[in-house]
């Protein structure tokens, strides 16, 4: 079964068409990257998959469930990390993880386990006892990433997962994503970092002006455009 299947997806804001007929699918356990220039509908697409926005036309299926009709059930299977997301500044890191674990899992025992796992994943150690408003951007991002995957969703939707992280932290996060995917978790990632995309993803979908321009494995795309540089593929596709 496909973890995600998108068919003829359209999203309009008044006269503006942010997503203009998108079709692609993501296999279970796959890391799929959605790339494209700024403002071409990536985040809108991720929000529609996350059931936050409703498509104007077309359909999104997550593990066979329709994101509009079965929105509540879909939410039980996904975890979404928005780009530049914040956290509740007056809560400590621990309180935030505990709260989010309860919100997503609704079971005290499972939530406690997930929050403990999230605490380990975040790598923030004793700083988790401090209020989030004292965190640096990188620390906050690590906490949010830990939150997104600690509940072990079947599909993790990550918008720019490593933005704001330094090289070491970015590398650790990428390694964690790889490990979790190997364990069966499916990832849909949006990123501008082509090195990260190449390292992580099994397939890449390149979109521009709300439309899918290409969708294949990084190596296949490079071969198609006769180049060793994925960034060149991106530039040639989107210009």
């Amino acid at each position: 079964m496909d973890a995600l299947k998108i068919s003829g997806l359209v999203k309009k804001y008044g006269d503006f068409e942010a997503v203009a007929g998108l079709d692609f699918s993501v296999r279970e356990g796959e890391i799929f990257a959605l790339v494209g220039p700024n403002g071409v509908g990536k985040s809108t697409t991720l929000k529609m998959i996350s059931t936050i926005l409703t498509p104007t036309a077309g359909a999104i299926s997550v593990f066979g469930l329709d994101t509009v009709r079965d929105a509540h059930a879909v939410r039980g299977r996904i975890s979404y990390l928005p780009e530049e997301a914040g956290a509740y500044k007056n809560l400590s890191g621990h309180e935030y993880l505990d709260f989010m674990a309860m919100v997503f899992l609704r079971d005290s025992r499972k939530a406690a386990e997930a929050a403990a796992y999230g605490a380990r994943l975040s790598g923030l150690g004793p700083r988790l006892g401090d209020k989030i408003k004292t965190y640096s951007k990188g620390m906050a991002r690590k906490l949010l990433l830990a939150r997104a995957v600690m509940i072990r969703p079947r599909l993790a939707i990550l918008d720019e997962p490593t933005s704001g992280l330094d090289i070491v932290n970015g590398y650790e996060i990428r390694k964690t994503i790889k490990e979790l995917a190997a364990g069966g978790m499916t990832f849909l990632i949006s990123s501008h970092n082509m090195t990260e995309i190449e390292f992580l993803s099994g397939r890449i979908g390149v979109i521009n002006r709300g439309k899918l321009l290409a969708c294949d494995a990084p190596a296949a795309l490079k071969s198609q455009f006769s180049t060793e540089d994925l960034e060149e593929v991106f530039v040639r596709l989107t210009q």
Partner: protein
């Protein structure tokens, strides 16, 4: 722990910041300090509360006047000076502001039936501020009334020796009756009005502040979640969105109620220090007590319950409206401007009933005021005191209906795209945004 409790705890933790607690504590402290210092200042400045009297007549009448005036609350200070200018210039009277000159020949003029004058002088200082001048005016009014009554008694004793002066002064004294809802009681109207005002003195202020505080809080909570994108995470979670709305409404109500209690304590201490309002209110109630009970003006437990329900629904209406305004807010900075659509009806329903008698107002004004759900809460104490329980009940029912409409609208907006895509830019908000 159920999910609603988890959400509510988070909302309260986010709202009840250290800064908020400190600012409220500081506000109570400032009120308390101002009230206390004004009270002690008034006591300490007792010297300037007295009246300096220069008795140039030194007659039986002037002695009786001094005694009668001394029987009031105002201290009377006899002075040996014989002229107002020299008395005012004297160092020992430098702090005094009120002077009375009893002219030479006063008794003789009264006895001969010729009019005379008592001369009251008030020193108005250039840097006078606060309530001092107003208090001096009130003091002189009271003392001059006592002196006039005594001078009148003196004249009547001499001109009509067979009859008591009190009878001659007022042979047919007025008796005041108050009629409420068919019940008639002999009680001065002033006492009834004073009692009603004392009962509802703090009430509208408290309701006003609760509404403003809770509205601001919930708008900030929604706008902050939007701005920080924490809302997107919550919206993608398997939590019923109605619970998200309800937890925010409940948390804002709890914090607003707690803050209002704190505010009222500070305000009460402040007003008590300045005017002794609490004491005079209870004294007024005690004096007219039995009559007030018979008139049905003493609020019963059921009456308080009705008022409480009306206030609760007033807050809930404001919260549901503010929730929608929060959804429409561009960001946290625009909240002040976005409060305007809520502030306007609130101000109208708060201020207009103070100046307009709703029982005789035109239908247009009545329709406007009763259409605003907040009016019913402001009017609730009066309705309950006057026995208009049906009107209070209908008011609550109307408020509940308005709340149901707005909370449904809020929940629908919260569940749809509008939450992330809809923006309302008021002229003020646009200017602010442009400035930033």
């Amino acid at each position: 722990m159920n999910i609603f409790t988890v959400l509510l705890r988070k909302e309260i933790k986010e709202l009840l910041t250290r800064q908020l607690v400190i600012s409220i504590a500081a506000m109570i402290f400032v009120f308390y300090v101002i009230g206390k210092s004004v009270g002690s200042h008034s006591r300490a400045s007792g010297a300037s509360n007295s009246i300096v009297v220069m008795d140039l007549d030194r007659s039986e009448l002037s002695a009786r006047l001094l005694k009668a005036m001394g029987g009031g609350k105002t201290p009377i200070k006899p002075s040996a000076f014989t002229g107002i200018a020299s008395a005012m210039a004297a160092p020992e009277h430098a702090a005094e502001n009120s002077f009375l000159v009893i002219p030479d020949g006063l008794a003789r003029s009264v006895e001969e039936g010729r009019p005379s004058r008592l001369e009251f002088y008030s020193r108005f200082r250039k840097d006078a501020s606060g309530m001092g001048p107003a208090m001096a005016a009130s003091r002189i009014r009271k003392v001059s009334a006592l002196a006039a009554a005594e001078a009148s008694a003196y004249a009547l004793e001499r001109k009509a020796p067979g009859l008591p002066p009190a009878f001659l002064r007022d042979p047919a004294p007025a008796e005041e009756y108050v009629v409420i809802d068919g019940r008639t009681e002999k009680v001065p109207l002033g006492q009834v009005v004073g009692f009603i005002q004392s009962q509802s003195y703090f009430f509208p202020i408290a309701v006003f502040f609760i509404v403003i505080l809770s509205a601001q809080m919930i708008m900030t909570a929604v706008a902050t979640e939007k701005e920080n994108k924490t809302l997107e995470t919550l919206l993608s979670s398997p939590v019923d969105r109605r619970l998200l709305v309800l937890s925010k409404l409940t948390a804002s109500s709890i914090i607003a109620a707690a803050l209002s209690v704190a505010y009222m304590l500070g305000m009460r201490s402040f007003m008590g220090g300045i005017t002794g309002a609490a004491e005079s209110a209870s004294a007024s109630a005690a004096a007219a007590g039995p009559a007030l009970i018979k008139l049905g003006l003493i609020i019963t437990t059921q009456g308080y319950l009705l008022i409480g329900l009306s206030v609760l629904f007033c807050i809930l209406c404001a919260l549901s409206m503010a929730f929608i305004l929060g959804i429409l807010s561009e960001d946290v900075k625009s909240i002040q401007a976005m409060l305007m659509p809520l502030m306007m009806p609130l101000m109208i329903s708060y201020l207009m009933p103070i100046f307009i008698d709703l029982s005789t107002a035109g239908w247009g004004i009545k329709a406007l005021l009763y259409a605003i759900p907040f009016t019913h809460a402001f009017m609730a104490p009066q309705n309950v005191m006057m026995g208009n329980f049906a009107r209070a009940g209908w008011g609550i029912a109307y408020q509940a209906a308005v709340f149901a409409v707005f909370v449904t609208l809020a929940a629908r907006l919260f569940s749809g795209d509008a939450l992330l895509t809809l923006r309302l830019r008021l002229p003020g908000a646009r200017k602010k945004a442009a400035a930033q």
